[in-house]
Amino acid sequence: MSKFSAVSLLKGALTGYKNVEPQWPDAELKSEYDVIIVGAGGHGLGAAYYLAKEHGITNVAVIDKGWLGGGNTGRNTTIIRSNYLYDESARLYDHAVDLWDGLSQDLNYNVMFSQRGVMMLAHNVHDVQSFKRHIHANRLNGVDNVWLTPEQAKEKCPPLNISPSARYPVMGAAFQQRGGTARHDAVAWGYARAAAARGVDIIQNCPVLSIERGPEGAVTGLQTARGFVKAKKIAVSAAGGTSVVMDTAGVRLPLESYPLQALVSEPVKPIFPQVVMSNTVHAYISQSDKGELVIGSGTDQYVSYSQRGGLPLIEHTLAAICEVFPIFRRIRMLRKWGGVVDVTPDRSPILGKTPVQGLYLNCGWGTGGFKATPGSAHVFAHTIAQDEPHPINAPFTLERFETGRLIDEAAAAAVAH
């Protein structure tokens, strides 16, 4: 696969793109792989890429029941930040931010990582105390996060309404400059292209029917819609569908899958410089490079795989956005979608080995898995290759729900869930 460069682009332009090769080949499913990854989202494709690049394991397939990047990777609000409270989370999410910075060059694919800064609004005394605690904890962990007065917040984000008489008065904000957004589709495509270039097979539209185990209990392969595929190592990275896939291996999980909705407005010229989140009013907003306001909502209250969300939830979100940013009330929404997000009891992911030999698990990212994509994929690849967790993901075991060593990040999550 040829590299993208200014020269290759110019050549394409001059020759009318006549000899354009596909970004990645549509691979035939082989009968055996060293590693099969279930789920071709950012996390799964990323793990395949790092397996090939850092561990020399290239006999790898990434299998998805739909199309590549068609799940939560392709339908999220693209926010990236690492201002989580606990040491374990700070290390994991900050590892991701470190890898985001330079990912475009690493993949030779512009993922448009934009460190425009993430602002989390405090609307009441509890928010103020909680965010200040986060800021102190973050800084002890080397994660940048500063406190802004309402005036400083307004200076950074002019559309913000900081009137003390507002329905949700802004009492200040926590601000992480290294946070921002990235182009979600490009992340999936960039990893897919870079992984395929190193020999990884990407198999789309191939539902996995079951994970097969041998008499000793170890995994032997996958039953798929296109037949049985042998593999000694299977890594599940299937987000909302994780419980269903893992159930076939006899592993039951502390997960529940909820609908999560988001919306996008019609595109307008640049007006909104940062990412702004408000836990209290359950809304977050940024403006994409294309000009659309990207708005996220909270989860519906019941478990569901329907990918349909309720009207009251998005009405509530939009009402909150219009209160905090009254200039946006006349802007029309262009589209809305619902994803399926897998939520753990402590709102932290499960990232590591399972009781089944050869079966690895990356799930439970809830409403915020996109931000962790490179970091999570990187340490997941290490775990699969070495059959041992990387020090960064070592605390994020499935066993923690038995030992009680939970990593309770509910307060750092963006929205109620």
Binding site: F4, V268, D289, G291
Partner: protein
């Protein structure tokens, strides 16, 4: 400034003249006009610039499906500017101020149009492949430039000055769309005493009957039949008619969100009146009678101002009394554009050529065309369009056996009317996760398995004639009433002079160019 109004045509109120501005120039229209119809009546097609290449754009449709003619609107005072509004939907009122978008310094002379010259560099997805070197340039140079050139209209900069309202509503039967199918369903259910809500996005009920009136309905002129129908529905206590009301979403258990526009057509809104009202309508049964959307055809220059859907030209003529041009070339793969051409000729528009990519069409069409003196070119295609900010002509050629084009000639015109057939409008149905199935024969997606208690009627089921739509509306109402446990007394609506038709689907019109490059050479 030309006047392209046609006497005796249209449903505008000619007694009420209205002045509004577009890019600072004052124009006159009539009550009932949209910004697009009023500008077209004044000979203005150029209404915007495209998103990326800043290509000149004019309206291609006459309705809410409009992708091109997007404008900013405002009325007196701060906090009432709105970007990206479809000129084809926004009604004019005294004092309305509108502006074009995505241009600098002006719509006519736009520096950004340089992107069109460089289109080969700025190919689809080019930004993923570049702007990576040197790394530090991304934050400081590339991204700020990309962000500044993206977006279409400008955001409002003042807090919204208006108020909004919301309400719940419950009904036995909700009907979305008040064309032939929706009206027939409403009449059937209403006469039965069923509690009916009928919503339509337009200012008037009638749908396609407003754009293409058949000779008569139930022995009466269409206009008479329609006003009697609306009169009957509006006097029944069990019926609620809602116009200017857009069904925005279809949620669980037959809840449909409807946004009703209340004041955006009024010069002097009542003090304190809400601008819009959000309805959450919960219905036991829903009928989706949203019709179909005309498909564009793919050929070089099909986005030039002056190129539009054949049905849009028909709507501008019959609903607004506006000729979209004086000399038109029709390019079609479907019978329906022939009828549009006939209407236009009858209103005094010259059809410079009627080009149909199909090698043979029905004799009745040919004889009607002949009677009107139209030059017909079957088995031909339009290759390209001349003119920059307005069409000035087309290249027409004969399609040869190997899919290439020969005998190419130039035809002068100021308008190109295209039709690639029709696509059922199933957007709301898809919100329910109802499945679609592909109809091989007619090459359309049709509604499949349903997840909610809903029925699709008319164009949404791939039925292309008004008689079929009326019949299907009655049928859908009967099914809904049966499901409600009511017995429906069936009704019949008889259309005289119905214009049924068929066509073929073309992915891209034949040309002698490399497919990948077609559209750019």
């Amino acid at each position: 400034m030309s006047n392209l109004r046609v006497d005796g045509k249209g449903r505008i109120n000619r007694d009420k003249r209205i002045r509004f501005t577009f890019d600072g120039v004052s124009y006159e229209g009539f009550e009932g006009d949209t910004v697009a119809s009023a500008l077209l009546a004044n000979g203005v097609h150029l209404m915007g610039r495209s998103f990326k290449y800043h290509r000149p754009r004019g309206p291609v449709t006459a309705g809410s499906e409009e992708p091109n003619a997007l404008i900013g609107t405002s009325r007196g005072g701060a906090g009432r500017f709105e970007p990206n509004t479809r000129a084809t939907v926004q009604e004019i009122y005294e004092g309305l101020t509108t502006v074009s978008q995505n241009k600098w310094p002006s719509l006519n002379f736009d520096v950004g149009a340089i992107n069109d010259k460089l289109h080969k560099l700025f190919a689809a997805g080019f930004y993923y492949k570049t702007f990576m070197w040197p790394k530090s340039f991304w934050d400081k140079v590339y991204e700020p430039v990309i962000r500044a050139s993206a977006g279409l209209g400008v955001s409002p900069s003042e807090p919204d000055a208006d108020a909004y309202a919301s309400r719940y509503l419950y009904a036995e039967l909700l009907i979305v769309g008040a064309g032939p199918a929706g009206l027939a369903a409403a009449l059937t259910a209403a006469r039965n005493g069923t509690d009916v809500v009928l919503v339509d996005e337009n200012r008037e009920l009638g749908g396609s009957l407003l754009s293409e009136a058949p000779a008569s309905i139930d022995g009466k002129p269409t206009e008479t039949w329609l006003s009697e129908c609306i009169e009957e529905l509006s006097t029944l206590p069990n019926v609620r008619l809602m116009t200017r009301s857009v069904a925005i979403g279809y949620y669980h258990e037959n809840m449909v969100g409807v946004a009703e526009k209340l004041t955006d057509h009024l010069a002097y809104p009542p003090a304190g009146a809400p601008r819009e009202r959000m309805w959450r309508i919960r219905a036991k049964e829903v009928i989706l009678a949203q019709g179909a959307l005309e498909r564009p055809l793919v050929f070089d220059g099909n986005d030039r101002p002056g190129v539009m859907m054949a049905s849009a030209a028909q709507t501008y003529l019959n609903r607004y009394g506006v000729k979209v041009g004086t000399a038109a070339v029709v390019m079609t793969s479907h019978d329906s554009a022939w009828y549009a051409a006939f209407d236009l000729v009858d209103a005094g528009v010259t059809i410079a050529a009627l080009v149909d990519v199909r090698s043979s069409v029905g004799d009745h069409l040919l004889s009607e065309a002949q009677a009107r003196g139209i030059t017909v070119k079957t088995g031909h295609t339009v290759l390209s369009v001349a003119g920059k900010k307005r069409v000035s002509g087309v290249q027409v050629g004969r399609v040869t056996g190997d899919g290439k084009v020969s005998d190419i000639t130039s035809v002068s015109c100021d308008t190109v009317l295209m039709s690639g057939g029709w696509t059922p409008s199933l957007h709301l149905f898809s919100h329910t996760k109802g499945s679609l199935h592909w109809d091989e024969e007619n090459e359309v997606f049709l509604p499949g398995e349903k997840t909610e208690r809903c029925h699709i009627a008319g164009g949404g089921r791939g039925l292309w004639s008004q008689q079929a739509a009326f019949d299907d509306g009655v049928l859908a109402a009967e099914q809904a009433l049966t499901s409600l446990g009511q017995t429906a007394k069936t009704i019949s609506v008889d259309v005289d002079g119905d214009r049924a038709g068929s066509g073929i689907v073309m992915e891209e019109l034949p040309s002698n160019d490399d497919k990948l490059l077609a559209g750019h050479l």
